[in-house]
Point group: C2
Chain length 351, copies 2
């Protein structure tokens, strides 16, 4: 099934472009992981079980990495004349863990909403423990996320992250409304992914400079970096759903298709398509009449004919470029270079 | 179906005992209601629809009333030499609205978890808009609740309410584990309702004195009042589920029974019962083999035989007495008297 997308500027090893960033925050991420482990603890055994099923299955932890990285970029760690760990300051660690909890809660609730069977290459929690546990453990993680934020004590950071929580939920509801509507416009689709994916990237990046007490211009720059990186990340994800392999993605190729999810490759294919192709999309996505054996291949065929996957990646490149420019006001530094490389990573995943 | 519980000290009109409290916070509640309306607004039309379906259906708004009342008891409104509304201080209003949003979010998620059809005498949101909307609008309301708390700017209040959010979710998961287990002990059951119901009452009452900047002893007293009132409230609810009428309750008599929920009347009946009766509870609650036409009457008959409903109310009276004593350190005042009467109301509902 693995469809290879043609690529214009593909680095030899896309994973490598994240290496510098990962190395620069390695110490902080150890502390974030320890924090995550301790804050999913509960005497109610099902809570750490469900939470760790998802959290331990990994993922790149891109969001908490971004919080640590932007805090470090803005001098948070160095503010007390040494590394944060030594000075006992752990605001960045707690906010990073909060961001990961918010993300995990969203995944748990999404699985219930989407009726997914797989998540990050493992059976979805809702299959193993039921929808009930997924909803409630998600709520628990959200509560723990807010507790950690409160401990940090920055009202500005609390404002950013609680606003993000509301916007994310709003985006998910918006997506419910757009679900199965093949007439969705590109703008409508972008509004959905801005809210449901990019907002958390933006918030994760904005709290870094806020913690470091940096001026608004730097907070706005980091927010813009995160927002545009998040949009690029989601668009690439959308393309991968019609072109990666199950092992890479941690979900099944064609999941979005089977769930009738309208993503950019569909939006572009529908608009560019013939009357017959539009009827195909209406039948499969709106009416859900899918022939498992053939329709996914047909869908990918139509997308290739209209260059819908390539152009989805092209759109992602556009947002990636905005993300890069957003960091222009920061002086050259290893962390800045690593953040710029992370943009390449997000886009180069589509190979 | 309306089973009348014998009562030892029943006031002539139980509703009347809430009148003074309602009158004392009437001005504040108008502002809370306006705040609730404005904060459920969204360009995503489904959000205000779902939220208002539940919020507009009323309920007594006991939790936000308690926040306003304890703030007033502790002099919050009078602190700037006048009423809060005139001084522009609206911390009590925002925290009260937050508490109601947290409660509404819990109800929305509970309906999904419990697969309920009815809520507050109306069709449950999940039936009308689907589980998806219930999960996501719940998340949206939680996000909005935290945003309002952040606006108030009290880290102490944020700590109390975010901790409550985590404890509530933990309690719900605990209840999942206890579900359908007829061997549940009274202590285990109390741990569940402390977390899932009483904690929010406690938090709603604790933030009042915190807002007013009162000493810890008063915050602890109000917290204790709320916690014990909440336990009493839930126990009476449990009894009503086997004895009120659908119109009073906003849910169907026997809902808990049909859902296999283990509540105190069941815990007491099971322990006090014969081998045959225990087998009845195992068949109906654990195995879910319920004959709609006969089993609810049989269940109520067993409960009456063992005085399980009367003793559930008796337990509620015990917690009500603790709630009353918790307020002893406050000087006599109209608000204190009204809060004492509210305890009577919570218990006298069971008639």
């Amino acid at each position: 099934m693995g469809v290879v997308l043609p690529f214009e500027e593909k680095p030899s090893d896309p994973e490598a472009s994240l290496n510098d960033l990962v190395a620069l925050v390695a110490g902080g991420m150890d502390r974030v992981n320890a924090m995550i482990l301790s804050r999913t603890g509960s005497e109610v055994a099902m809570i750490p079980e469900v939470a760790n099923h998802l959290i331990a299955s990994g993922g790149k932890r891109l969001r908490p990495i971004l919080t640590l990285a932007t805090a470090q970029l803005c001098g948070y760690a160095a503010a007390e004349g040494g590394r944060a760990a030594e000075s006992g300051r752990d605001g960045d660690v707690k906010l990073a863990a909060s961001v990961e909890f918010m993300h995990t809660a969203t995944l748990l609730h999404d699985d219930v909403v989407d009726e997914s069977d797989m998540r990050r290459g493992r059976v979805a929690a809702r299959i193993k423990w039921g929808n009930q546990a997924s909803v409630l453990v998600g709520d628990f993680l959200l509560g723990q996320a807010f507790k950690m934020m409160v401990e940090v004590g920055s009202l500005r950071a609390l404002d950013i992250l609680s606003s993000a929580a509301a916007v994310i939920a709003e985006g998910e509801v918006m997506q419910l409304g757009a679900a199965k509507n093949t007439e969705t416009t590109e703008d409508e689709y972008l509004a959905v992914i801005r809210a449901k994916t990019a907002e958390l990237f933006a918030a994760a990046c904005e709290v870094g400079p806020v913690l470091a007490g940096r001026p608004k211009s730097e907070a706005a720059a980091c927010r813009s970096y995160g927002m545009n990186l998040g949009i690029a990340f989601q668009l690439v994800d959308d393309a991968l759903d019609y072109g990666g392999t199950s092992a890479d993605l941690g979900k099944n190729v064609g999941d979005d298709f089977r769930e009738g999810k309208i993503t950019l490759p569909i939006v572009l294919s529908f608009r560019r398509g013939t009357a017959e192709e539009r009827e195909f999309w209406r039948r499969t996505l709106e009416r859900g009449e899918i022939d498992e054996a053939r329709d996914l291949d047909t869908a990918i065929g139509i997308m290739r004919r209209h260059r819908a996957l390539e152009d989805t990646i092209e759109r992602a490149r556009h947002y990636g470029a905005i993300a890069r420019d957003a960091l222009a006001l920061f002086p050259d530094a290893p962390m800045k270079r690593a953040l710029l490389q992370a943009v390449d990573f997000c886009i180069a995943r589509a190979h």
